[in-house]
Symmetry: C2
Subunit: 167 residues, 2 copies
Amino acid sequence: MRQILLSKQAIIAFTLCAVGTLLAAAGDDGLKAPNGFKDWYFANSMLLTTDQNKFGLNAGNHLIYINAKGLERFKRGDASPYPDGTVFVDDVRSYTTDGGAYLDAGRKFLTTMVKDSKKYASTGGWGFQAWVGGDPSKPVVMDAAKQCFACHTSQKAHDFAFSTYVD
Amino acid sequence: MRQILLSKQAIIAFTLCAVGTLLAAAGDDGLKAPNGFKDWYFANSMLLTTDQNKFGLNAGNHLIYINAKGLERFKRGDASPYPDGTVFVDDVRSYTTDGGAYLDAGRKFLTTMVKDSKKYASTGGWGFQAWVGGDPSKPVVMDAAKQCFACHTSQKAHDFAFSTYVD
């Protein structure tokens, strides 16, 4: 069975959003807290144990899913754009520790990245949002360009997505 | 959105096997290294940073999948037995660390737990096997009763599976 080693750049799920502690009123980005993503394809994961990390992400176990629409492009891994309708979700989990074990302790944030090349043209064709605990009434992204896209621009060659297929 | 906190007992993926370093010749357990599990349902995960842990598991990021056959029972979470044909897979990933970040570094073991109530009657109806790096020529379980089932007996009330559904 083939084994692929990931570079740090490759594994960095996706930067999502430098989610602050400020809770914003729901913006007019048209994004909704996703349902059903647990039936999607599980792309990869990354555990961050401190908020002060080089990825600018909240601490937690980041579990990344992608929907069927974007899966072929994801697995292909080339430089082509993701099709409109592609959705990534990062199910950011809290954890407890028990010795050297990190155990799931529930949802901390639910974040999403939705491809609509026209609607979100100003942020690379992607809409970004995140919700505290996955609660639809608690979105945290007020300015996707600053909070999310500023980091994702580094991945322009990969249609602004950090996640990479790993076998 | 409902948030469920997991008990330690609940999240402990499944004990799988106390995989040693000894490589065994393939047994006659009829088990094969699973293919296609990445298209299955992603059940949960647990990171173990040291081999000396209370779960008796190898260090690594344990990513647990279940196939469609067992999914309804898994989500129901009651005391009923899993149907024959249920398969759990633990994709045990190596990791690298970068500050407080744990990043995927490829497959360490691929383990499986297959329900066949007649064939594996002596071990609770489950067959157990694990392969180094997912390599079909490198099975490590020589005695499933000792290496695997000895721990799984503690979960008799849950048909010997540790994994629990988490939303």
